[in-house]
Symmetry: C2
Amino acid sequence: MDQTDRTILSMLQKNADVPGKVVADAIGLSVSAVERRISKLKQDGTIEKIVAVVSGKAVGRGLTILVELEIQNEHRHTLDQFQRWLDRASEVQSCWYVTGDVDFVLLVAVRDLDEYNQFIERMMNDQQAIVRKYKSLIALKTVKRSLELPTDR
Amino acid sequence: MDQTDRTILSMLQKNADVPGKVVADAIGLSVSAVERRISKLKQDGTIEKIVAVVSGKAVGRGLTILVELEIQNEHRHTLDQFQRWLDRASEVQSCWYVTGDVDFVLLVAVRDLDEYNQFIERMMNDQQAIVRKYKSLIALKTVKRSLELPTDR
DNA sequence: TTTCTGACGCGGATTATCCGCGCATTCGGA
DNA sequence: TCCGAATGCGCGGATAATCCGCGTCAGAAA
């Protein structure tokens, strides 16, 4: 993982829909050298996957809400079970177990408040033994939306 | 945007590193029909981009922190300026302007607490006229991490 | 019914990727 | 110092994927 790899990663995080030739020209390497590096980065898990980023509005999921959760108890089994539930919930894009007053933060994408309400009710019903309370932070504006990581230094 | 398009989007959000043939076989369409649909979805902005998802650990940015911000005032000019700053901050992966007690939520990826502290100091220094207070929610575990949207219904 | 539109499958032309080869550089022991 | 082993490179042919024009067909509108 040298500087060349980092440059490649930086490019592919912005746009992975690019022929090797373009990357090769940008960094002054042959096409096959670039291909070999990319396939190695995929192999060793540095590149986890290549995905399409879809417009929420275009598929009718334009409403983003951050949900802060407090849970009843933090026993191992309870946590595991709840996390599996979250993982299967299609409304939940991302989810973190965090320090502080709240226990979980969810990033939820839904069509509208009605669908959000259905999600919350489903969660409070399915997981009533676990979830104590929740707080909704409705996104009025998504300033930035990516999973891009800086690769420098 | 019919059910076929939705199926394609669902597949490409999980893995866009797939030849058209695979998608075509999965949905029972010819390769060229699939290619035409995909290129149309890119054209009209439904597919915003194709990106590589990189492992934070692999590039030394394994620490994820959610930051809740309260700002001094919500005048248009102030907000715009601050949002431009956030957009340029490489540590900030995502950022939402939200309803409720807090004004912004940032998703930040850094190497360690030291680097996080540097980021916070830089923000509080550069944007001292804007940011009133912040609260850090350190991710002990990332349960789920994607921008994937459900396409059904 | 006729016409128009849009999406389809087919298949050849073009591009891109995969991969083996030989070469240059680097890095550790003898 | 000298000499293998390992690593990464560029080249170029084989393979695979994409691009694109053509003719066809089904559904909507005249």
